[in-house]
């Protein structure tokens, strides 16, 4: 019935294939024969969501269970939403075209802060009350996971449960418990009290937040004795044995990353001080080359993909790379599959690696020095030198590359205008290196594109205490960078810093921001990560409407003694280490990577003391 209604509006929207499902390897089940129906919601459009690995893993894992049917739900694009609202069509899953409010568990993955209004929009389109307190039944439990839940406080009022950490085991245990309580006919409260005992499950309504007079958090305390005072992150102990899908849903329409993905390790040995992923995904766990190779073969066989990509935070830090690559290249070549290796570092981009890469399809080269001067790179502990960058550039030019992309950040702690000029200078020296290289392709001009992002301090990093640059500072620095670039071979791109203000607020915000998010949503904010729909004015109005000073959250230097809104969540890394790293940053002192010297961050306690970096 619902599908017929949807079919009537499909001719009126762009890319109807986003909404109709039926893809190869998508999972169909008999709804009457499963105990739990799980709606996996991605708060962005199909093309973005279908590129995301986490969804593929959890979709496969949940559907491997006979008692559960996990279906996918994406945010409809604006034209589709308009038609859905006009025709009273609720948000639906694309497998069985079931309305969202018929699902037992509604799970969101929160990959970036700017998706929060989309979450509310999806709940509203699905006829689900926005606030957890207005949902009283055991049905429609709304949960979320993903990197943003390391500080879920700004959206705590909208969710019943957050999954802290990795979902491979946790999500299954949660579904199992839900099934039991559904059979027993438990009420929502009883179920949530039981669920809070699962490691990694955080039920926000079970915690009281008290504030100081200066607006900072005084304490976060559990309301009940049997609720943990600290919710400890869940990790998968051994990646070789943990669930990985054998089949991937193969989209019909073109999506952002339409390829097989092989995850090679979790965590990162580098400890770059700005990088949240480098801290919250600890400890290091590597998959063995044989397992990776088997998984690649299986995925390519069952999907027919012509491209496979290795995934990790830093591909060239994978200790089994020299063992994996020759075999992998053999396989991909024999099957006309393109291999892509993102996230390479300039300091260990070896000649050997470069030669091996020669044999696979050549795409652009992208490196991330992150900052323009050595001092600045030392502050952020990006342990690479200008020589590393130039050496790699020369090697690449010898190998026939003519273009290179360089990623940087603006607004890093202690940054001066000299550091900004350093970005332009570094790019210039790459251009110069091209002309000095005797092996370069004669007659071709180099092109260096600089992409600069605005730095946003994130929880669980050594910079979590730092003030974020104001909008005016960002804009001035962007202008300064533009005027420092003097070569036509160098192009610069940057984002509107206004989105970074909003992202910064929610990255380190607290529960008082729920009202602001709801207010902004009701005034029409959605798809905030899309330039064409982001409205800074509406957000500013929402802060004003709710009497919230956004600067309190972004532009303020925090004290080491301050209690953070996320202080009751434990991601494994000791706060003492973060403080020490922050102090070292201010002295422009670097810290060796985890393989050179373990800094005893403490994350290995989550894994029974094991960490692949310590060996």
């Amino acid at each position: 019935m619902l599908f017929e209604k949807i079919e009537r509006i499909l001719p009126l929207v762009q890319k109807p294939g986003r909404y109709t499902g039926g893809e190869v390897n998508s999972v169909m089940k008999d709804a009457d024969k499963v105990d739990v129906r799980f709606a996996f919601c991605f708060p962005d459009i199909y093309e973005i969501g279908m590129s995301h690995l986490g969804m593929k893993i959890l979709y496969g894992m949940l559907n491997d269970r006979d008692d559960c049917w996990c279906e996918r739900v994406f945010a409809p694009d604006k034209d589709m939403e308009e038609q859905m609202r006009l025709n009273n069509i609720p948000l639906f899953s694309i497998e069985s075209t079931t309305a969202l409010d018929e699902f037992d568990i509604i799970g969101f993955t929160l990959q970036y802060e700017l998706c929060y209004t989309n979450v509310l929009n999806m709940l509203q389109l699905g006829n689900i009350p926005l606030r957890a307190k207005d949902r009283t039944s055991l049905k429609n439990i709304v949960v979320a996971g993903g990197p943003c839940v390391c500080n879920p406080e700004p959206i705590a009022d909208f969710f019943d449960v957050f999954f802290i950490g990795e979902g491979e085991e946790l999500d299954g245990e949660f579904v199992e418990l839900y099934k039991q309580h559904k059979k027993m006919g438990s009420d929502k409260q009883t179920f949530l009290r039981a669920a809070a005992k699962i490691q990694g499950v955080y039920v926000p309504e079970f915690y009281n937040v008290e504030y100081n007079d200066d607006m900072t958090v005084k304490c976060v305390t559990p309301k009940y004795d049997d609720v943990p005072a600290k919710v400890v992150k869940r990790v998968v102990r051994n990646l070789d044995n943990s669930y990985y899908p054998e089949k991937l849903v193969v989209p019909f329409i073109d999506v952002v990353h339409d390829r097989a993905i092989a995850e090679i390790f979790r965590g990162c040995i580098r400890g770059c001080r700005f990088c949240q992923a480098g801290y919250i995904y600890r400890p290091i766990r590597e998959k063995s080359p044989q397992v990776i190779l088997e998984q690649v073969k299986k995925l390519c066989d069952t999907s027919g993909y012509e491209e496979v990509s290795l995934l990790s935070l830093s591909t060239s830090d994978y200790s089994g790379l020299s063992c994996l690559l020759p075999e992998l290249i053999n396989y991909t070549k024999a099957h006309s599959i393109n291999l892509s290796l993102p996230s390479l570092r300039v300091d260990n981009f070896s000649k050997e690696l470069s030669e091996q890469l020669q044999t696979v399809r050549r795409s652009g080269l992208t490196f991330a020095p992150e900052a323009g001067t050595q001092r600045m790179r030392d502050v952020i502990n990006k342990n690479i030198t200008q020589q590393d960058v130039l050496k790699t550039a020369e090697m690449a030019f010898e190998g026939g590359w003519t273009s290179m992309k360089l990623y940087f950040m603006l607004g890093l702690p202690t940054e001066t205008m000299e550091d900004i000029e350093g970005i332009a200078n570094l790019a210039q020296s790459v251009v110069d290196a091209y002309y000095n290289s005797e092996f370069r392709q004669k007659g071709k001009a180099p092109s260096v594109s600089i992409s600069v992002a605005a730095f946003i301090p994130k929880p669980f990093t050594p910079f979590q205490w730092e003030p974020q640059d104001t909008l005016e500072m960002f804009e001035e620095k962007q202008k300064h960078l533009m005027s420092s670039v003097r070569s036509k071979k160098i192009s610069v791109s940057y984002h509107d810093a206004k989105t970074s203000v909003i992202e910064g607020v929610f990255a380190r915000g607290d529960r008082r921001l729920s009202d602001v998010i709801e207010n902004a949503f009701l005034s029409g904010c959605k798809f905030d990560s899309w330039d064409d729909s982001f409205s800074y004015e509406k957000w500013m109005q929402a802060f004003e409407n709710c009497g919230v000073d956004y600067k309190f959250y972004v532009n303020r230097m925090r004290d080491y003694s301050e209690v953070f809104p996320w202080s009751h969540l434990d991601y494994g890394v000791r706060e003492q280490l973060l403080i020490k790293e922050n102090e070292l940053a201010h002295q422009a002192q670097t810290t060796p990577n985890c393989r050179e010297k373990c800094s005893a961050c403490g994350a290995n306690k989550l894994n029974g003391g094991e960490c692949c970096a310590i060996g």
Partner: protein
């Protein structure tokens, strides 16, 4: 190496998948099925698939045609089975044969356009019939003349080869119609339907369009 012509159906939800997406879909299907297809040469080889006649979005078909090249002695029957084991729901190979006619010989397609009226079905039947039997049904086509973009008026009635309007048992109006579809001239049945509904003011609950025959200029089945 030999050339093979493959007829297949594209039904149901697959009508929402564009012609461009079909390329990707087929190359994945041949990979999954392990079909000994010839790969294009060059730096980035991919399976060679030639779709003879693009199918517009929102159109189903019982007779899509593609040519591929096979590098070993797999039989036509084996090819059909391999495809059918790996095609998504809604697609099915109906025939595999040696190519006969040249793709450029394709001149006409026959469609069933089924209109589900939102209101009086007999009224819809009358209005649709009258419009199709009338003198003109004008649409504006955007065209390029050199570098200039111009609007060109096209009278769709003149483009129709023949048609037959009938009422189905469940009170839908069926237009069985032959339209040009080839390299020289093509009329998109969806475009015709939209113009028809607009001109007659008929309200509909839904429209489904099915291509059921592909023919040469003499209205013989294209082989």
């Amino acid at each position: 190496m030999r050339s093979v012509r493959i007829w297949y159906e594209k039904l149901g939800k697959l009508q929402y998948i564009s012609h461009l997406d079909m390329n990707r879909l087929m190359s994945k299907v041949v990979r999954r099925a392990g079909i000994p297809i010839w790969y294009t040469e060059g730096f980035n080889p991919h399976p060679y698939v030639n779709f003879l006649l693009p199918l517009p979005l929102f159109t189903q078909s019982k007779c899509e045609i593609m040519d591929i090249k096979i590098t070993d002695d797999t039989t036509n029957g084996e090819l059909k089975d391999k495809f059918n084991a790996f095609l998504p729901d809604g697609m099915r190979v109906t025939k595999v044969a040696d190519p006969w006619g040249k793709p450029t010989e394709i001149a006409f397609s026959q469609y069933d356009i089924v209109i589900d009226p939102d209101g009086d079905h007999e009224d819809c039947f009358m209005k649709v019939s009258e419009c199709l039997m009338g003198e003109e049904l004008i649409i504006i086509k955007k065209q390029k003349q050199g570098k200039r973009k111009i609007d060109k008026e096209v009278n769709l009635i003149e483009e129709i080869h023949s048609f037959y309007v009938s009422m189905t048992q469940d009170n839908r109006v069926n237009i069985d119609i032959i339209l040009p579809s080839g390299t020289v001239k093509t009329v998109n049945p969806r475009l015709l339907t939209d113009a028809l509904l607009k001109s007659t003011g008929v309200e509909v609950r839904g429209v489904s369009i099915m291509r059921k025959r592909v023919m040469n200029a003499n209205l013989e089945d294209f082989e």
